[in-house]
């Protein structure tokens, strides 16, 4: 992998993207890599567009902020429009099917994250975990084994099965592309 | 001073800094007598004060004594009591120290019902800085910062303490010393936050500004104006105007804060 990969996970407040960022960073650590996770605080974190950022690297991570993301995940159009400004030209934009596809030169992966979470898995609340499945398969930044382990260690016991299902649906969506 | 009381004083630190006629020595003496009557373990008593004339009292008293910053005695005392609930904690404070700059700490210590006995040396004036009005200075009284008469309304500290949650509330005076000693004993025995408002005299600053420079005249005034809680209950608001109501206002059994925290520890450890 690259020396340093920057990932930004975005959506609206309450979609669980900060938890997703933490899990992604933990998966990277399980893979033996370094990881730094940060997020926006305050009014911005309460509603509207919210984001979590993760940097994954094989070597020591000094500058802890994302400056040119390699990957941007957006679950809402507002978040995509707000946060794609510094996505690398060769970067990957993962967006939900409900978002109008932008006229950009990035590689764009558009998949029905929210719809699948709601209808296939049965709970829209696990869209964040499903999105991690998509991201894992589409990028290979972390291993499937590690992301699964990280998810199961973080989520409440009674929701483990549900989240596992969501993650696997995400793997499927990420692989079809 | 009775010989058996001498061990409670740091005799080498005397004489004290208080002016002739000041009532602070009377309260200090009453505190020591109450401690002696209750046979409290001297090395387990901790006396905390803030800033002002009254807050110098602990320096003369042979206990674990802490002379803190202005108004903050109760904050420091709360830390001591939380950390070591075995210590018996007294806070000696003045009317300005307690009810102005320390007002927030006062209501919150009362609200928590932490086992601290607060004794207010209430002489209605800032003595250390030379006679400015405090939140306990009566309306229309004179002070260096109220040269035309005080327009501020004054606190009734007992009412304030009770509504904030104090579980023992009483008022005594420097004239009624045997009663004062009894009230301090009651306050010390009470498990929870106890407040004793002690009506005190400052002939130097309050008296002189208010045409009562003689300590005797000030003492006489306390005697004349004092009515017991029981008598007061039969008096009209008009009759009570200017009177000093003395005695016990409130006493209740409510879980004490450090005992409640001990349960938190139990819960936290049981949950492991």
């Amino acid at each position: 992998m690259h020396e340093r990969v920057e990932i930004r996970l975005s959506g609206s407040g309450g979609q669980g993207l900060i938890l997703a960022g933490i899990i992604l960073a933990e998966a990277a650590i399980l893979d033996g890599k370094n990881a730094v996770q940060s997020q926006s605080y305050g009014p911005e974190a309460r509603g509207g567009a919210s984001r979590a950022e993760v940097i994954i690297s094989n070597i020591n991570i000094d500058y802890p902020k994302v400056s040119n993301p390699d990957v941007l995940l957006a679950l809402t159009e507002e978040a995509m429009l707000k946060y794609k400004y510094d996505l690398q030209q060769k970067g990957l934009l993962i967006i939900d099917s409900g978002i109008e596809k932008p006229e950009d030169s990035y590689k764009i992966l558009q998949v029905p994250i929210l719809e699948t979470a709601k209808n296939q898995v049965g709970k829209i609340i696990v869209a964040n975990i499903l999105a991690l499945g998509v991201l894992t398969m589409a990028t290979g930044i972390v291993s499937k084994e590690s992301i699964e382990k990280a998810v199961l260690e973080r989520v409440p016991k009674r929701t483990k099965e549900l989240n596992k299902k969501a993650l696997y649906e995400g793997f499927k969506l990420g692989k079809t592309q | 001073m009775r010989k058996e009381l001498q061990k409670y004083f740091r005799n080498d630190k005397l004489p004290h800094i208080w002016c002739p006629g000041c009532g602070h020595g009377i309260i200090t003496g009453a505190v020591v007598r109450a401690i002696d009557n209750l046979k409290l373990n001297q090395s387990k008593v901790c006396i905390v004060s803030g800033i002002g004339c009254s807050s110098r009292a602990p320096g003369y008293m042979n206990f674990n004594t802490l002379h803190t910053t202005h108004g903050r005695a109760l904050a420091f005392a709360t830390g001591i009591k939380m950390a070591n609930p075995d210590l018996k904690i007294l806070v000696l404070t003045g009317d300005g120290d307690c009810s102005a700059i320390g007002g927030n700490h006062f209501i919150h210590a009362a609200r928590r019902n932490i086992d601290i006995t607060t004794i207010v040396f209430n002489n209605s004036i800032y003595g250390m800085t030379g006679g400015q009005y405090s939140p306990m200075t009566p309306k229309a009284a004179f002070a260096t910062t109220a040269p035309y008469g005080n327009i501020d309304r004054n606190f009734d500290l007992c009412k304030l303490a009770q509504s904030a949650g104090a579980t023992y509330v009483a008022r005594g005076t420097v004239f009624h010393v045997p009663q004062l000693i009894k009230l301090i004993e009651k306050a010390l025995k009470h498990k929870g936050f106890s407040l004793l408002d002690v009506v005190d005299i400052c002939p130097t600053y309050f008296g002189r500004r208010n045409k009562m420079s003689s300590p005797i005249a000030m003492m006489n005034k306390i005697r004349e104006m004092s009515v017991t809680v029981r008598s007061a209950s039969k008096m009209s608001e008009e009759e009570l105007s200017g009177k000093i109501v003395i005695g016990e206002f409130h006493e209740e059994r409510v879980p004490e804060y450090t005992e409640e925290y001990a349960k938190v520890i139990e819960k936290a450890q049981g949950g492991n």
Binding site: A35, P64 | N64
Partner: protein, 382 residues
């Protein structure tokens, strides 16, 4: 042997470090971006039989930890700019009465309410001179989550050893980021406890320099002889004095117990400074950006290095002095403020270097690119 490797937030590492150092009392008041320290302390302390209390304000929190420390509890409070301002009077009390305690200040944008959720390093001077009067103080500043853990332990050790408040000066970036850490085994951690005097002695003078090291041994309230503690200038028995010699001797001792032990207290890190023409001085999260910039500039052949201050106060004049024996010509001080540390660096440089400031105060971390641009600009001047 190491504990398992985990992802941990800076504020969480602060509590873990404090607990490892022996913290058993925390008093605080909620304020962004330090609040997690109070929350995690509230959860973890009672499990260890320790005590947590949320006070009515930051003034009271500072008073409470001093009170608790007097009973022998290692005590800490945590806050941010506005709360740190409120704590100042009682910090001064702890300095003068020599009560060990740790104060965490997670810096956010100021002045006043400022930028509550965004990083800054604008409290550099306040940590040194926030309380009135001449006073001793130790301030240390971490750059990573692991270092937050280590430095919180160190803050307790320094505070206990020298009987002085120790300020852990963090910033929002270091406090809120989560990072991979590998925490050491408790048994491998060096813990320093305050000196105690035998409580069975017949006379205790709480401020007597019994050991000749400028640090009087302590005794807990309730453990032995009664004694007096005051915020007034006091003699060796602890009682107020206005005697000129007593005042002078006390202040001299308070200062010298710190300044006679600089080798122990000062910590800093030199990276590529031996052959550097330009050295960038920084601390906290800014040092991470500087590190990145130095790495990238070195790849381009720039002779650039960095000096990272871990101890902010007392200032590491010896680190600047050592640079005078190297080819360094330019000192660039990078900090998220208007140049608070720059002034001290300039004074320390005594004209031996050209000094420049890289200052940012808009609520954003200085970026590596900004450091690179500034170094190029400085190189042009040279």
């Amino acid at each position: 042997m190491s504990k398992k490797i985990i992802l941990m937030q800076g504020n969480e590492a602060c509590v873990e470090g404090a607990l490892a150092a022996g913290m058993r009392f925390f008093a605080g008041y909620p304020i962004t971006p330090s609040t997690e320290i109070a929350e995690i302390s509230a959860e973890k302390l009672p499990k260890l039989g320790g005590k947590f209390i949320q006070m009515e304000d930051e003034i009271a929190s500072m008073g409470a930890i001093i009170g608790a420390s007097l009973t022998g509890f290692k005590s800490m409070t945590a806050t941010s700019g506005p709360g740190f301002s409120l704590k100042q009077e009682n910090i001064g009390f702890a300095c003068l009465a020599e009560i060990p305690c740790v104060v965490v200040n997670v810096q956010r944008g100021g002045p006043s309410t400022g930028l509550p959720t965004l990083p800054a390093q604008g409290d550099v001077m306040q940590t040194r001179w926030g309380t009135h009067g001449d006073h001793p103080i130790i301030v240390i500043s971490p750059s990573s989550v692991r270092e937050v853990y280590d430095m919180t332990i160190r803050a307790f050790n320094l505070s206990e050893k020298y009987r002085v408040p120790c300020i852990l000066l963090m910033d929002e970036v270091v406090a809120h980021m989560r990072e991979k850490v590998e925490l050491p085994e408790q048994s491998s951690i060096d813990i320093i406890n305050r000196k105690y005097l035998n409580p069975s002695m017949s006379v205790y003078k709480p401020y007597m320099d019994y050991d000749g090291d400028g640090i009087p041994p302590m005794m807990n309230f309730g453990d032995g002889l009664p004694y007096h503690v005051t915020g007034l200038i006091h003699d060796i028995s602890g009682f107020p004095s206005t005697n000129a010699d007593v005042s002078k001797d006390l202040l001299n001792r308070l200062m010298s117990k710190i300044y006679n032990n600089l080798d122990d207290i000062l910590e800093y890190e030199n990276i590529y400074t031996e052959d550097a023409e330009t050295v960038i001085v920084s601390f906290g999260s800014t040092a991470r950006s500087v590190h990145r910039a130095v790495y990238l500039l070195r790849q381009e052949g720039f002779k650039v290095g960095m000096l990272r201050l871990k101890t902010i106060w007392p200032f590491a004049h010896k680190a600047i002095k050592k640079l005078k024996q190297t080819p360094v010509r330019n000192l660039l001080v990078a900090e998220m403020n208007f140049g608070q540390l720059l002034e001290t660096v300039k004074a320390s440089a005594e004209g031996a270097f050209r000094t420049y400031g890289l200052n940012k105060y808009n609520g954003e971390l200085i970026t590596p690119q900004e450091v690179i641009n500034k170094v190029r600009e400085v190189a042009k001047h040279a």
